[in-house]
Symmetry: C2
Subunit: 255 residues, 2 copies
């Protein structure tokens, strides 16, 4: 089993070489631009889960990439002037600032459609189904966020961030052929990962959970989520040491 | 086998009763708004193809609905101020004009993701694959259109309109379990249908093919496409009388 860093490099290489649909014509440039530079956290979780569940990470690469494409799709559309109006992303111009709004709308659309194309390269539809559910949850979360109509912080983050983290574990389970009745402890782990990621993100960005719980309070919530994630992994009947490494990495990351 | 009008009513009823993903929360209202009022041409083609290919139209309803959701998604995003800037659609305010730009971006996204959820309700991934390919072609066509970088009119319409018409036949073939080796004549029919629809659309809207070929020239092109579509159907080893009715209806429509 490979380290998170090795899996990250594997995902990065796969995404860099990804053949886009030729019919996209010139639209492909903005799609590639949008895909560059992420941390690939979701892909790494997927690949490590696949290896822990007993299949080669290479087999899970299309599924892992589909998660990164959905993540990129959401960033491209969220950055639009009508939504978060962010002209910068990952230290450079966001897609709309670089290519214009019209191309950015289409870039997000293309990323989402390409994500499904990848998810549907498997012989069964489960990976695609998992991706569709997660995407719909994310969209619902973004709606609650921009309209200020969210019932509470936990619901919001569960939708906006948690859905795709849970799916990062979920798609790997389908790729590995883990039957639904055996997926519960894995999925409980995935749910905690999303929360852990969000809380640490808020601590690093000085918003969200940091504002609502203070620095010590937010750090305590993160540590508790990390502990629960490790506890859930201990219930999984497999060698999950690399997934524990991911939990530790997410809990202690500084960027 | 049912008439195109009966199949249209069937699709309309299914779309009206469609259960959206609960996680969309308030976003669902704009999705329903966007779905109202179409002619359901793509759904009817899909349902009639399914019946001709030997399965109940009811079995093809999720696939037929997925086509209408992708069509609605493309209209919602194309209408945005940054793209075609259309404040009106189907005789009332377009989605962005009614709900604001941010919600309209998300409504398009949600329609696309819900389309895949429907397409993936089948036990095999082929319907979803066909939908992803068609969607990517449409996006590429829209890019060529808004950037004025299209090589020629035929390529543009093949992507913008033709892809989803071809998929309307294609998804029905997968639903009916027609093996790939037997799909060619059906698919050749679908390709002609998209062209026929586009030319007649341009004649009715006084643009595109009407401008480039004149009224008589455009009408002749439409008649030739209709003839080729009927010829292709004659090669299909099935009772395709209702599909001939659809060709006749598309060739002679006045709205």
């Amino acid at each position: 089993m490979r380290s998170p860093e090795e899996l990250r490099a594997l995902a990065e290489s796969y995404l860099g070489d990804l053949a886009l649909t030729p019919e996209l014509h010139g639209q492909a440039a903005s799609v590639r631009y949008a895909l560059a530079g992420g941390k690939r956290v979701r892909a790494v979780i997927c690949l490590a889960t696949a290896e822990a569940a007993g299949v080669d990470a290479e087999v899970a690469l299309p599924a892992a990439a589909s998660l990164e494409l959905v993540h990129a799709f959401s960033l491209v559309h969220d950055d639009l002037p009508a939504l978060d109006n962010d002209a910068e992303r990952r230290g450079r111009a966001s897609v709309w600032a670089e290519y214009g709004e019209a191309t950015a709308v289409l870039a997000g659309d293309a990323l989402l459609a390409e994500a499904f194309r990848l998810a549907l390269s498997y012989p069964t539809p489960e990976v695609g189904r998992e991706l569709a559910q997660a995407t719909l949850g994310m969209i619902g979360g973004q709606y609650l966020d921009i309209t200020g109509s969210t019932p509470d912080e936990v619901t919001l983050h569960k939708l906006k961030t948690g859905c795709l983290f849970s799916a990062s574990v979920g798609v790997a389970l389908w790729v590995a052929g883990i039957p639904e009745r055996d997926q519960s402890p894995w999925r409980a782990f995935g749910d905690e990962l999303g929360l852990l990621f969000q809380i640490v993100d808020d601590i690093l960005d000085a918003d969200g959970y940091l504002l609502s719980h203070g620095e010590d309070g937010a750090r305590r919530l993160a540590d508790e989520a990390a502990t629960r994630a490790r506890d859930r992994l201990a219930e999984v009947p497999a060698d999950t040491t690399k997934l524990v490494d991911i939990v530790d990495g997410l809990a202690t990351r500084t960027s």
